[in-house]
């Protein structure tokens, strides 16, 4: 999680000073995206903060897990915040927002229902932008060790001697 700045010490009031509520989940300000409850915040350098907030929402809509907090989705897309990819990401997100506006929403994140956002994503499923974001999430999200316990997955076991004495055959409901 080293890519996420911990702003837990920052008050909600501090955070909101000079920033905008962005959809339900995020606030964006100059050079950062943050959770509305200030649980986390991320510095953004090459991308517009609104673009990063849109990417985070898009990541959640592609692989929605209601028990997985936004900071893991943010970590999964943080890597796109670089000068080499910024133009391509900005244009992909702009296309997504244009599609949303064509359906009467203010923007992609302005669409309140997940199903409306998913409809927009389905319509661009074949695009290289969508496939790059989706493909990157397969490892970007699910290969975060911090995410594994949220799914019950225990990771490596050699250092603990395997499961021979730790429940390799412990289910009793079958």
């Amino acid at each position: 999680m080293e890519t996420i700045l911990d702003r837990r010490s920052m008050s909600r009031r501090d955070l909101l000073t000079g920033s905008l509520a962005f959809g339900a989940a995020f606030v964006v300000g100059p050079g950062f995206v943050a959770a509305t409850d200030a649980a986390w915040a991320m510095e953004v350098k090459a991308l517009k903060p609104e673009t990063m907030a849109t990417l985070i929402q898009m990541a959640r809509d592609i692989y929605p897990h209601d028990h997985v907090a936004d900071e893991y989705y943010a970590a999964a897309v943080k890597g796109y915040d670089n000068a080499d990819q910024a133009e391509m990401i900005e244009s992909g997100v702009a296309a997504l927002n244009a599609a949303a506006q064509g359906k009467g929403h203010s923007s992609y994140t302005g669409a309140g229902w997940e199903r409306d956002r998913v409809d927009l994503l389905r319509a661009m499923e074949g695009s290289s932008f969508f496939q790059m974001i989706r493909g990157g999430l397969v490892t970007g999200l699910y290969n975060q060790k911090a995410v594994w316990p949220l799914f019950g997955y225990e990771g490596e076991s050699y250092s603990q001697g395997g499961y021979i004495d730790r429940g390799f055959d412990d289910i009793n409901w079958i």
Partner: protein, 523 residues
């Protein structure tokens, strides 16, 4: 002369590849006093080096050189640059394999006779049979320490097996057990018993699973007759004016090329690289590649009918705990055309960790249909389906002159179309696999598509007649007496069973033959 050997030493047997075929052959020859230089494209990793982390281990071990794909198989769409999931390291894919060690059934050596003409299939009987192979299977099982053979007991069943077994029995299956596995159920041959760690596919950190990397290879080296050269990637096999092979050209880890002279060359680079090497060795004398007078080099590529079934239950399973593949249902492995296909299939327990489950459950899938499946990861059980696929002449490895590897050589293209028999078998296997789990209360089941191929077979196949295949009953090429094929590419047909035990048995047998012919002065 003792190892290491000189590049100009033309008395050595050169073995290309150090996996189940090459690694075993190299050791067996060395034990008999034959001088061997084994050239391995990858590096050397031992149990301390293996990593209990799916993607990190994949980066450490997988063969990731340039490859391309074509055909209607789903792997070409989902993993277009990764047709096969095999290993580039000393020990080859025996680091990654699951350990399932099954003998072929008698009829599987005689499919042309047993199945008759199957339209579009290039079936052929093996020039050998089960009776001839039985003593070699016995030696192979003793070498690998296969459970439920000899006096070796079975592995204990893990959670994934308990669910699988209960479902199988409810469905009426009889031949259900924790498998014949090259994973120790008790300490054996200086290797520890299985500690139920999981991560069998990432290299066994206990050494409980047999791998050539820490058994045959060091034992061969200890004789003084075997030199293993790591990061030695063979580019070409050279021959003289008489058509006999005289050595091989390889690139070392810095890309510098060397020629190692040889009395005999044995190719064991797995079923994509082995035919590719023969094709890349084309010369004025052999314009279609070495040993290719039949035109069969690279053809009849088989990868087994495969698929998986995962199922979600209302209670935890924790399938990742313990041995990855110690569980089998063998009732469907028989040949019974009343099911709508020839040949049969095995059902074997399988677990993936969360990172690989996300990648392989439904490649390309997204949205809540996909994520609610992963939400239930802890409550999942899983099995792999593996059955005989039909050899087809058009399923083949060719040289792709538009895609070059890191040495500037044409990369292999792997073309595969499913045969209607493969599709009928897969559909049947999905249905049965889902029924196994539904019988014990699965709330949701997933017929999961094939992964990149782990069983690559048939591209230099064994035949009685030179016109039908590439090698004879000893794995010796029909065209060139001192050129042998020593891996799964010699398989005439694929059978339903996981191939490693048969590759090992053939390698032990081939070593016996080669050493005998050398001492008689025939080679």
């Amino acid at each position: 002369m003792a190892a290491p050997f000189d590049l100009s030493d033309d008395s050595v047997v050169v073995v290309i590849g150090t996996g189940a075929g090459g690694g075993v052959l190299a050791n067996e020859l060395a034990q008999k006093g034959v001088s061997v230089v084994a050239l391995e494209a990858g590096g050397r990793y031992l149990p301390d080096d293996y990593i209990n982390d799916e993607w990190e281990s994949f980066g450490q071990l997988a063969w990731l050189d340039k490859r391309t794909t074509s055909g209607d198989w789903r792997v070409a769409k989902d993993f277009s640059g990764l047709p096969a999931w095999i290993v580039k390291a000393v020990g080859g894919t025996t680091t990654h394999w699951a350990g399932a060690s099954l003998r072929f059934q008698a009829h599987e050596f005689k499919t042309k006779t047993t199945y008759g003409d199957v339209q579009g299939a290039n079936l052929l009987d093996w020039p050998i049979d089960l009776a001839e192979m039985e003593p070699w299977y016995e030696k192979a099982e003793a070498k690998l320490g296969v459970t439920r053979t000899g006096d070796r007991v079975g592995l204990p069943g893990n959670n994934n097996f308990k669910v699988f077994e209960a479902g199988a029995k409810k469905l009426g299956y009889k031949d259900v057990h924790t498998g014949r596995m090259a994973i120790n159920s008790a300490d054996y041959d200086d290797r520890l018993a299985c500690q139920q760690t999981g991560f069998c596919f990432q290299g066994c950190k206990w050494g409980a699973k047999w791998s050539a990397a820490y058994t045959d290879i060091p034992r061969g080296e200890a004789t003084g007759n075997l030199e293993v050269r790591e990061h030695a990637h063979v580019l070409k096999i050279e021959h003289d004016e008489s058509g006999k092979v005289i050595g091989v050209v390889y690139a070392d880890k810095d890309g510098n090329q060397h020629m190692q002279r040889a009395r005999i060359v044995c190719v064991a680079g797995n079923s994509i690289e082995s035919p590719r090497l023969l094709l890349n060795s084309a010369s004025n004398m052999f314009p279609d590649g070495l040993a290719n007078s039949s035109g069969q080099v690279g053809r009849n590529y088989m990868r087994h009918m495969t698929g998986s079934v995962y199922a979600v239950f209302d209670k935890p399973v924790k399938m990742w705990r313990g041995t990855t593949m110690a569980g089998i249902i063998q009732d469907e492995s028989r040949h019974d055309p009343s099911r709508g296909f020839v040949g049969g299939y095995e059902m074997e327990t399988l677990a993936l960790g969360l990172p690989f489950m996300a990648a392989f459950l439904d490649p390309g899938g997204w949205g809540r249909e996909f994520t609610t499946a992963l939400d239930a990861y802890e409550n999942m059980a899983g099995m792999w389906l593996v059955g005989e696929d039909m050899p087809q002449e058009t399923n083949r490895i060719t040289l792709n002159h538009d895609a070059l590897d890191q040495y500037g050589l044409p990369a292999p293209n792997v073309h595969f179309d499913d045969h209607p028999n493969d599709i009928a078998m897969r559909d049947h296997a999905y249905k049965q696999g889902m029924a196994v789990y539904e019988a014990v209360g699965a709330t949701r089941t997933f017929p999961t598509p094939p992964y990149p191929s782990t069983h690559n077979l048939g591209t230099n196949r064994m035949s009685e007649k030179a016109r039908d295949g590439v090698v004879n009953r000893w794995g010796q090429t029909h065209d060139i007496a001192n050129l042998f094929i020593s891996d799964g590419s010699q398989f005439t047909t694929g059978a339903a069973e996981n191939p490693t035990l048969t590759i090992v048995a053939l390698a032990i047998r081939q070593a016996d033959h080669i050493a005998g012919e050398m001492s008689k002065g025939n080679l």
